[in-house]
Symmetry: D2
Subunit: 284 residues, 4 copies
C-alpha cells in the first residue's frame, strides 16, 4: 500500500469535502483519515487527508495533475501532497544549552522522530561532542555583529548542500535575518522559554520571577520576521511558587522546553500543522 | 438553515467516507463538520457529521429513509440522526451533596447546557430548596433495602412521564438496578470521585489518602451493570500532598467532580460520544 | 484549646526562628504549624505560625504586648496575629456574570469558606435573585461616568456599615478608584480572565483567540492602582485549540475563573498569603 | 559557611520545634530553612531543617553527639544529619529502553543532579554505548531464572565496591529480590509506567488502552517487597484520547516517565523525602 497525505486550504464553499473524497474514491484510493476545519470568521476551509492506494496502479505525478485539474483549480486551493516514503531533512541549530539537543537526538536515536538529521549548526563549539557521539556532522559558525551576514550565508550554503527541508532552533541564541527566514517560511521552528505572548524577548524567566507568576511556560512557534510573534504550534506550563529561585525557574523550564519543542517537531513532520493568518490549525 | 448531526458506526471498509459525503451532497446538503475514526484493532469505523440543508426543501423523514436505503444498508451501519431543533430532556439524580447540583443548575441557568431539566430525583429531602430556587420539580423517593424495587419503579414512572432522554447521577449515592440501567443504555452518566480504574467503589478519597498518592482524580462514565466499569467519557486530576487531610481531598475533589461531570454532560448533549466495546470515541 | 495564627515579615537576620519558637514555648504555647521563607535577593524573612494555647491561661492582648516587646521590636517586624474565633467579613462585588457568584455562594452554603458574607454590591440589578435565594443583602449601585464618585462613596459607606474585612471582585466590570483601593490595601481580590501578564485589560479572550494561543488562563490577584498588575495569588490554565471559538474560550474560561478565584479566597481567609514588593508568598 | 540538613521523625509532643531551633541557635547555627509536618492521625512529627554554621568552629561529630544527648534522646527521635559537602553515589539499573537513561545522563552532564554516578548495571548489553559516551562504567549482568541469585550477588558486590548510596531503576525490567531490597530500604527508586495504584505489574499501557482511560500516568516510588506498592514519591499524567494507539501511549508515556523519575531523584538527593507507614512526606 502507498500512503499519501494531502493538505488543503481554500475559501470555504459548499461541496468541497464531497468533491475531494469522491475524487480520491474514483482514483481507487481509500481515505484512512480525514480531518477538517472551517474558520467561520475568515470563511477559510482547511483539510487533512490520509489516503491509501495500491502500489501497482498509483502514480503520484499523475494523481497530482489530475487533482489539480479536477479539484484544486475549481476551488482555488492551496494544497500540498506528501509522500510517506521520504523522510524530511531537519537541521538543528544550537548554541550552548544542551538539554534540547540531547532530547532531540535521544528521540532520534530511539526512532521516535520521522526525520533525517543531516547536520547540526552552532555559533559555539560547546556541543560538538554530543553531536559526535550521535555521529552527526557539527558545523561551528561563529556569529558576531561584523560577521553576521557572512555567517548566515555560510549557514544557507550548508542548508542547501544538505537539502534541508526545515530548521529547528533548539535554544539557538541568535536572531535570524529576514533573508534566512524568507527562505524557509513556516519551516523554522523555535522554542521560546515563556508562555507567549507573556515575556517575549530576552530573559523571560527573570521577568517571570520578577512579576511573581505562579505558572511558567514554554512556546514553540514558527519563526517570522516579528520576534516571538510567529504562529504558535504548541505550549505547555508548569507550576512555580515563591520558594523557587530564578535558577529553579530555569531548571524547571528546561523540561518544558524540550517537551514542547519535541511535540512541535512531531506535529510538523506528521504534516499536522497548517498556517493561516499567523495562527496554526493543528490536526489531531 | 436546518442543521442535523449524523453518527455512524460500522465495520470498516473502503469508500464509506466518499459514499456518505457524496450522498449528503446529492441531497443538496453542505457538510460543515466531519470527524472520523477507525479502530484498527477491531476494524471498526466511526463517523460524526454535521450537515446543513435549506429549510424549504429538507424533510427529515425522507432523508432518513433515503439514507437507510442508499447508504446504511449497504455498509450495515448503526446510525443515528439528531435534529438540532429539539433539546434532550435530562433528569438529575442527587442525594445529599450539593456541589454538582449547584454547578449543573447554575450552568443551566446561564444557558450553557443545551438541555431541558424537567425534574430532579433524590433519595433525600436535603436539596429540595436548591431545586425550588431554580424552579425545577424535585421528587424525593426514599430508597431502603425493602423499598428498592418499588422506589425504582416510581423513578421509572417519572422518567417516562417526563419523557426523559438521559440521566445524570450527580453524586447519587445508590446503585441502580439492572432494570433501570437496561432502559437507558449509554444514557446514564455517573461521576465517580476517583481516577478510575484506581479506587472503584465506596470511599475512594479515603483509599487514595491511605495509599499516599500525589494526584487524585474524578471520572465520568456511562453506567453499566458492572459498578464503576462503564465506558469512560472524561477524567481529570489535581495534585495533592502529604499536607492534605482526607477532608482536603474531599474538598479538592469536589471541584474536579463538578467540572468533569459538566464536561461529560456537554459532550453527551452535543452527540460527540460514541460507545463501542465498553470504550468511548469522543469527537472534538 | 485556643488557636492563633501569626504572620511575620522583617529583614532577615540570625536567630529569628529560634527566638519566636522559644517565645511561644515560654508562653506555654504549642506550635502546630510553622512555615518560613527567606527572599535571598531582598534579604527578607517571612514566617507563618499556628500555635495552640490552653484557653484558661491565654490572653490575646497580653500575648500581643509581650510579643511586641520581646520579639517584634528586636527584629523590627511587621506582624499580625489572627484569632481563629472570628470569621472575616467578605463583600462580593458583581456585575452581570453569574458563574463566580454562584460558585462562591454554593461553597459558602456548603460550609467550605470560612467567612461571613454580609452583603453583595453590584452595578446592575441582574443577579439580585441569586443573592435573594441565598438570603444575602444585595445593593445595586449604578456606576456611570458622572456618578462614579458618589457611587463609590455609597459603596464605602456600606463596607464600613457592615464592617467588611476584605472585598472580592467576582467579575465586577468597573475599575475601582484609588480611594477605595487605598482603604483596603492587599484586601481586594480580583479575578482576571487571562494568564497575566499576558492579555491585561479588556477582552482578554478575544486577544488570546486572535494570537492563536494553545492555552488560556485565569489569574487572581490583589488589586493595586496599576490595572491587572497587583500581586498574583493564584493562576491556572486550560488547553484550547483552533477548533475553539471565542465563545468556547469564554465558556472554558469561566470554569477557570471560578476555581482560581475560590482558591485565592481560601488562601486569603486562611491567612496564607503575604505580600511584599508586589509579589506574594503563599504558604502551603 | 558549612551547611547541614537535619531530618527528624518522632511521636508528636509539645515543644519539639522550640527545642530543636533553640539548640541550633545555642550552637551558633542559623536556620535557613525549616519545614515541618504532623500526621494528626498517627500523631507523628516530621521536620526538615537546613542550618548554617561558621566553618571555623563547627564540628559535625561534636554536633551529632550533643544533638543526640540533648534533643534526640529526649523525644525518642529517628534522625539523620546530611553534610552538604559530599555527593551521594547513585547506581543506575537499566534494561533496553534508553529514554530514562539518556535523560538522567544528560541532566548529570549539565550539572543538574547533585550526585555521582559511579556505575550503570544492566541485564542487557544494548545501552553500553550510551554509558560509554558519558564515560561511565557499564556492567552487563545477564539475569535468567537459573542465574538470578548469582546475578544479584554480583550486583551487590558491585554496589558495595562502588560504595553506592542509592539505586535508580530506570526502566529496569527485572524484579529485585528481597535480599537486595533489604540492603537498600527506601533507597531504591523505581519508575512505574502507570498512574498507581491503577495498572500495577506488567504492560500497564496495554491495560490503560483496553480500559479506555482518558489520562495516563507515571509513578516514581521506593521499592519494597510488594511489587509496585512502595511509598509514592512523585506522579504525573498526560491526556490521551481514542485516537491514540498503544504505541502512542508508550511514546507519550516515555516523556512522563523520564520527568517523573528525574523529579524523584532530585527530591531524594535533596533529602526532601521522608518515609513513614508506606507513605512519603515530601518537603518543598
Amino acid at each position: 500500500m502507498k500512503r499519501i497525505t494531502i493538505l488543503i486550504n481554500c475559501n470555504d464553499s459548499k461541496g468541497i469535502i464531497a468533491s475531494v473524497t469522491n475524487f480520491v474514491s474514483q482514483q481507487s484510493g481509500n481515505i484512512v483519515y480525514i480531518d477538517q476545519y472551517v474558520d467561520r470568521e475568515e470563511e477559510m476551509f482547511f483539510m487533512r487527508l490520509e489516503c491509501e492506494f495500491s502500489v501497482e496502479v498509483f502514480n503520484v505525478e499523475v494523481f497530482k495533475n489530475m487533482f489539480n485539474e479536477v479539484i484544486a483549480n475549481k476551488f482555488e486551493m492551496n494544497w500540498q501532497l506528501h509522500d510517506g516514503d521520504s523522510k524530511p531533512k531537519m537541521a538543528v541549530f544550537v548554541s550552548k544549552y544542551s538539554h534540547c539537543l540531547y532530547d532531540i537526538l535521544s528521540r532520534y536515536n530511539a526512532g521516535e522522530l520521522d526525520v533525517e538529521i543531516p547536520l547540526i549548526i552552532s555559533n559555539h563549539p560547546d556541543l560538538e561532542n554530543i553531536a559526535k557521539s550521535f555521529n552527526i556532522p557539527y558545523y561551528c559558525i561563529k556569529v558576531t555583529k561584523d560577521t553576521k551576514v557572512e555567517a548566515e550565508n555560510e549557514q544557507l550554503r550548508l542548508l542547501k548542500e544538505y537539502n534541508v527541508d526545515f530548521i529547528v532552533l533548539a535554544r539557538y541564541m541568535q536572531i535570524l535575518s529576514s533573508k534566512l527566514i524568507a527562505e524557509y517560511p513556516d519551516h523554522i521552528i523555535n522554542i521560546h522559554h515563556s508562555f507567549l505572548p507573556a515575556f517575549p524577548g530576552a530573559k523571560p524567566y527573570h521577568s517571570a520571577y520578577k512579576r511573581g507568576v505562579k505558572i511558567i511556560g514554554a512556546t514553540s512557534h514558527y519563526v517570522t520576521e516579528d520576534l516571538d510573534e510567529g504562529p504558535i504550534i504548541e505550549q505547555d506550563i508548569t507550576r512555580v511558587s515563591h520558594t523557587h529561585t530564578i535558577k529553579d525557574f530555569i531548571l524547571k523550564g528546561r523540561d518544558l522546553e524540550k517537551i514542547v519543542l519535541s511535540r512541535a517537531i512531531k506535529l510538523h513532520t506528521q504534516r499536522k500543522v497548517m498556517v493561516h493568518n499567523n495562527k496554526t490549525v493543528v490536526f489531531t
